[in-house]
């Protein structure tokens, strides 16, 4: 359903990649990251704290992929959106870090 449209691929100047290929790649990557996270937990046998760090890292990678590709944040003119999300993330992570600190140390 993607092939037959007018100017999908204006070469050069266009910053926007309108072909759905990129989005399919992000989708497949997200699926793979998800399966990996589930697999590590289900078939684990690894060190517990390693698993925790590993799956949280996978989640962060997946979130970045989705933010940058699916939410178009990597395109031009997204400085303010990234600042808003980044600012929110700093506050959120401070809260999470405090909770982790209080409960585990």
């Amino acid at each position: 359903m993607s092939s037959n449209s007018h100017d999908t691929s204006t070469p050069g100047k266009r910053h926007k990649q309108e072909s759905p290929a990129n989005h399919y790649y992000s989708y497949i990557l997200s699926i793979l990251l998800t399966i990996l996270a589930f697999a590590v937990v289900i078939y684990g046998g690894l060190d517990r704290s390693f698993i925790l760090v590993f799956i949280v890292s996978l989640a962060i990678v997946q979130a970045l992929v989705q933010l940058l590709f699916w939410m178009h944040a990597k395109e031009r003119g997204h400085l303010f959106p990234l600042m808003f999300i980044g600012g929110g993330a700093i506050i959120a992570l401070t809260g999470v870090a405090a909770a982790v600190y209080w409960t585990w140390w």
């Binding site: 359903m1 993607s2 449209s5 007018h6 999908t8 926007k16 309108e18 759905p20 989005h23 399919y24 989708y27 997200s30 699926i31 998800t34 996270a37 589930f38 937990v41 289900i42 684990g44 517990r48 698993i51 925790l52 799956i55 949280v56 996978l58 989640a59 997946q62 979130a63 989705q66 933010l67 699916w70 939410m71 303010f80 959106p81 808003f84 999300i85 600012g87 929110g88 993330a89 506050i91 959120a92 992570l93 809260g95 999470v96 405090a98 909770a99 982790v100 209080w102 409960t103």
Partner: protein
């Protein structure tokens, strides 16, 4: 239908007007605030997740199979909502509405699965009031579920409006912003399945 605005529409109808630009920018600010909201709920959950008192523990009740399906459904719905936006940029109203409809259907199946899951938990004694773990769990996951429910309603109304008004510089920002919202809801779920379900299974 009556509207054939395609020829006159710019390549990015969602930011073609100042109002559209402002809507998209303002929505990002809202999403920044949503990050803080969910951050607080995650922090609360992380602090309380091992306080189970008499209730079952996370390890005992979570079923990764159900969660795996929910994850797959929501992830796929995020893809279909981005396909809707691609269709919008090609000025194809029919495709746009079709992909939004698919997104709504995936959202509804996700909700169905979540209701089924919560119902099972309650049967096993994992309730909102059974422990601090229960309260923080249902608050966090329930808030996300409420976001999905809101998104489903919102996008359904947008589809109806799209049928009536077509694709214009007025309706385009609405579709775009709804798609951003839907991606964000999916993004939050990535952390929920990691922090709540997978870390729950790893144990404490």
């Amino acid at each position: 239908m009556s509207s054939h605005p395609t020829g006159a529409l710019p390549a990015h109808p969602e930011t073609a007007t100042l109002e559209g630009k402002n809507k998209v920018m303002g929505f990002w600010l809202f999403l920044g605030a949503e990050v803080v909201l969910f951050g607080c709920l995650f922090a609360t959950y992380i602090a309380l997740r091992n306080h189970v008192t008499d209730g079952p523990t996370a390890e005992e009740i979570f079923k990764l199979k159900t969660v795996g399906w929910s994850t797959f459904i929501l992830l796929t719905s995020s893809l279909t909502s981005v396909l809707a936006i691609i269709a919008m940029h090609k000025h194809k109203l029919g495709q746009l509405l079709f992909w939004l409809l698919i997104t709504v259907l995936f959202g509804l199946s996700f909700l169905g699965l979540e209701i089924f899951e919560f119902n099972e938990y309650v049967k096993e004694g994992h309730k909102f009031v059974s422990s601090a773990f229960g309260t923080s769990f249902y608050t966090l996951v329930g808030f996300h579920g409420a976001h999905v429910a809101f998104g489903v309603t919102w996008i359904t109304l947008l589809i109806l409006q799209g049928l009536r008004k077509g694709l214009t510089v007025v309706t385009a920002p609405k579709f775009y912003v709804a798609s951003l919202y839907w991606h964000f809801v999916d993004l939050v779920w990535v952390f929920i399945f990691t922090v709540v379900y997978l870390m729950g299974k790893v144990g404490h």
